[in-house]
């Protein structure tokens, strides 16, 4: 605690403002900046006492929108659908600048391009968006998505699924892909962004509710500032950042965290001007793509779905 050097914000222990942050699921390297901000006292410097919560089945989006939690971690895909359904969520920052997800398969399945998906079995969770994404990818190589066999694999994890029936699945390289590297399993991977710019959406993002922005912009600003500092640190010191995450969440596998952090740290900011900035075009493109593919009931008002306003200069 180095609260003394920031007197203007009145950061006495008692005066810290209590704030909750709900993760999307279990902690992982997507969240490193948050834990760094907590551990290094950035939140305290901003006069905040942040509690990080794993939501489990409750899911972050509804809790944040309902004001039961102040901030949350979400995804552009979900946030787009949520806003169309009238859920008052706003994205404050893109945690990772580009979409790092893609379709992975063990090398022995010999899938090297979307064309090869034909005649193979895809394991997913049964959402219409999956078929649309696959279709977009395969069209580039004039493949036919109807020739892919879709299976809902529920809670089954990637490694288990591909041992049985499933040929390829949609994963985040930064976690599952790294795990495969650690295991020495060779994967073939087709990144979504390599085939369609429209699908280069932000995932994950930092979210809050419209209400909080309206009622307490000061807290939002302080919070985003601290988080931004945390990710900045993670970008600059991947190893130390990984250690902080391991220390905060000791039940995680440290090897995986370290490897994943090393891979992910450069990707937080990537080619953006600073960490967290979002481009309206990205939001519009993706929403339009969803609308065109019949995945949205109405168009998204992209301007209101995100804001760069709270990012520090």
């Amino acid at each position: 605690g180095n609260s003394q050097d920031n007197g203007s914000k009145g950061n006495n222990q008692e005066k810290l403002k209590k704030v909750t942050l709900v993760l999307d699921w279990t902690p992982n390297t997507n969240h490193t900046g948050l834990y760094v901000a907590k551990e290094n006292g950035y939140f305290e410097e901003e006069g905040l006492d942040v509690e990080i919560i794993m939501p489990g089945e409750a899911g972050a989006d509804q809790l944040v929108a309902a004001g039961k939690a102040d901030f949350g971690i979400g995804y552009q895909e979900a946030l787009t659908e949520a806003r169309v359904q009238g859920v008052p969520l706003v994205s404050l920052a893109a945690i990772i600048q580009h979409n790092t997800s893609g379709f992975a398969s063990p090398v022995d399945k010999k899938i090297t391009s979307p064309k090869d998906y034909e005649g193979k079995t895809y394991g997913g969770w049964g959402a219409p968006v999956e078929k649309a994404v696959l279709s977009s990818l395969m069209k580039q190589e004039s493949g036919d998505v109807e020739k892919v066999d879709f299976v809902n694999m529920g809670d089954t994890d990637f490694f288990t699924a591909v041992k049985r029936d499933i040929d390829f699945a949609w994963i985040y390289y930064g976690w599952t892909g790294i795990e495969a590297e650690l295991r020495g399993e060779k994967l073939n991977m087709q990144y979504v962004t390599d085939y369609s710019k429209k699908l280069d959406y932000y995932t994950p993002v930092l979210t809050t509710s419209e209400n909080l922005i309206k009622e307490d912009p000061k807290t939002v600003r302080s919070f985003v500032a601290a988080v931004s500092k945390g990710y900045q640190y993670a970008i600059e010191h991947p190893e130390k950042a990984a250690d902080i995450l391991i220390k905060e969440v000791p039940d995680l596998d440290s090897e995986l965290v370290k490897a994943s952090q090393k891979w992910l740290s450069p990707k937080y900011q990537d080619d953006a001007s600073k960490w967290g900035v979002q481009d309206q075009k990205v939001w519009e493109d993706y929403a339009n793509w969803m609308y065109e593919n019949g995945l949205l009931e109405s168009k998204l008002e992209a301007k209101r779905a995100f804001t760069n306003e709270f990012l520090p200069n």
């Binding site: 509804q62 659908e81 359904q85 529920g154």
Partner: protein, 256 residues
Amino acid sequence: MNIWHKGWRPVLVLILLFVVWEVSCRLFEIPRWLLPSPSQIVLEGAEGWSNYYHHLTATIGLTILGFLIGASVGIAVAVGLHLLPRLREAVYPIIILSQNVPIIVLAPLLVIWFGFGILPKIIVITLVCFFPITVATLDGFKQTSSELSHYMKMAGASKGQIFWKLEWPYALPSIFSGLKISATYSVMGAVISEWLGAKEGIGVYMTLASSSFRTDRVFVAIFLIMILSLVFFTLIVSLERMIVKWKPKGDGKGRD
């Protein structure tokens, strides 16, 4: 007739509940995505019928099949353990353990062993359904009147005869107790089993609705699940009334 005659009470309570829900939704302006009002749910349920009816039939089929298998396994296990006391001692703890393997752990193993077909789903439903039946049935067998079993033994009844002519009918109320508990769980069991990868079913419909923030559809799914379980429970109760009808009437009257 009897059921219709008595049916108005729960229906009344349910209607009351709905009214309270509807009114508080409107009063506190609860947003639709958080908790839709009953009228919105019913509307979506009526409009979306063609969207989900194939999900519904899939789940009904799965539930019936799973419950029948689960109930049979449950009764068979109880009978086996009852007739072979040594086996019971050895196996009872394992049966308890079987209820404590979380689905998220079981799922990958089942998938690895049995693929994404119907078999792993039936296994999940069976696991959910058999346990209450086994425990209740075993306890039912244990309660058999010693006076009657003394008579049967002295009359030279074999173990099998004592079982079929005495213990089984004596345990019937307990067996039905277990069946009622399991019937209630069976629909949820089927929905959970659909998370092991299914192409259709209420479980699939619900997760999709949930992931696209269609809370009204999620509630439609819940209503369907609830109605299904109520129907199943009522079926078991009717069956019980048909089969266990020798009780003194003065005693059982108005008691269920």
